[in-house]
């Protein structure tokens, strides 16, 4: 991928990774809570065990993966670092382009309930006079060799997320607006 390419992308976590996650969760070596302590010292073991059990056996990654894949996604390289982003076009013809950025420990999932109302307000019971959305995900995650775009490098502080943001993706020659 050369520096100017924007490539369509879909999330497809290998089944082996799902199996590995489940196995690791079920093999966790748990700590114990000190008697009489709670959240003031950090996450209680009792709470975490229950949540981890649900992650392993009740939570359905594939359903959420499919929901994320319902949005058009892309990967590109900016300043030598790969990143993934969503670009959701508005149902309104004169929509304002809008770039959504998240911080740590967030991800694109933070925008799950915002994208619909922003890009298609009429369908969500709002006045379509304003619209928008170009929605970017993660400047600072992504290091998996198996993709979602992944090459972090040193020398890119959080400032970079703003340096990467406003105009650059949209001024790419392949980028309509």
């Amino acid at each position: 991928m050369t520096n100017n390419d924007i490539t369509a992308y879909r999330i497809a976590v290998p089944q082996a990774d799902l199996d590995d996650l489940r196995e690791r969760l079920t093999r966790t070596r748990w700590t114990r809570d000190l008697p009489g302590t709670g959240w003031e010292r950090g996450v209680p073991a009792s709470y975490l065990r229950e949540l981890a059990a649900y992650w392993a056996t009740g939570y359905d990654w594939r359903a959420h993966e499919a929901a994320l894949n319902a949005y058009p996604q892309f990967v590109t390289t900016i300043d030598g670092a790969q990143l993934q982003f969503l670009h959701v076009r508005s149902a309104e013809p004169d929509a304002t382009p809008l770039l959504l950025l998240h911080g740590w420990p967030g991800s694109i999932v933070e925008f799950a309930d915002l994208i619909g109302p922003l890009t298609d307000p009429a369908a969500h019971g709002a006045d379509p006079a304003t619209t928008a959305t170009a929605c970017r995900a993660e400047t600072w995650a992504r290091s998996s060799p198996r993709s979602w775009a992944a090459r972090p490098r040193s020398g890119s502080s959080a400032c970079t997320s703003t340096r990467w943001s406003p105009s650059r993706p949209v001024t790419r020659p392949t980028w309509p607006r």
Binding site: L51, H64, F111, L114, T130, E138
Partner: protein, 185 residues
């Protein structure tokens, strides 16, 4: 530009301190206590990110704890547990993304980069971009300090939703975004 969860710092000007409201002082106090009582993740990721990266990349239970602590600490205080503020599946999808991509380490390194980026700590000219600031229940943003560094044209305070406003109060955040950008057309 529209931001939420903005952290503002004292300007060093005694006149600014003297002008703080009672609510401002309370936020400043929260911010100072925060450093002492719950800033562990910040110091660790800012100073030795690679050490914690090994544990976070090897143990999903460890990664879950590392992240869910923030959904406990930073969501609307009215929520007793993280899932009272944010749907449990959303939290787990967020953690799963960090897990499957193996990026808890590189995410931690961004704090180190920030700690060591001279540009982060040098005074700069006041911004010229029209800026809207949304303040949710857990935010410690102080208007007087924000005005010194940003061209603040809109200030909205909300009594519901916390640090993860997009997940906790998408209706409020979405409406504020739309109202703000409408004025810029």
């Amino acid at each position: 530009m529209h931001v939420n969860a903005l952290v503002t710092f004292p300007t060093g000007d005694p006149a600014d301190m003297a002008a703080l409201t009672e609510a401002d002082r309370a936020r400043l106090e929260v911010m100072q206590q925060w450093q002492e009582r719950s800033g562990a993740y910040l110091q660790l990721q800012g100073t030795r990110p690679q050490t914690i990266a090994h544990a976070l990349t090897d143990s999903p239970a460890g990664l879950l704890a590392w992240i869910v602590e923030k959904f406990q600490d930073w969501t609307d205080p009215a929520a007793k547990l993280p899932e009272d503020a944010v749907d449990r599946d959303r939290i787990l999808t967020d953690v799963s993304i960090y897990w499957f991509t193996g990026t808890a380490g590189s995410a931690a390194h961004t704090y180190y980069e920030r700690f060591n980026d001279p540009a982060m700590w040098t005074p700069r000219d006041r911004g010229t971009v029209p800026t809207a600031i949304a303040v949710f229940t857990t935010d410690v943003t102080i208007r007087r300090f924000a005005d010194k560094v940003h061209h603040v044209v809109r200030w909205s305070e909300f009594s519901r939703g916390g640090h993860f406003a997009a997940l906790e109060a998408p209706d409020l955040l979405g409406a504020d975004l739309r109202a703000f950008f409408r004025t810029l057309d």
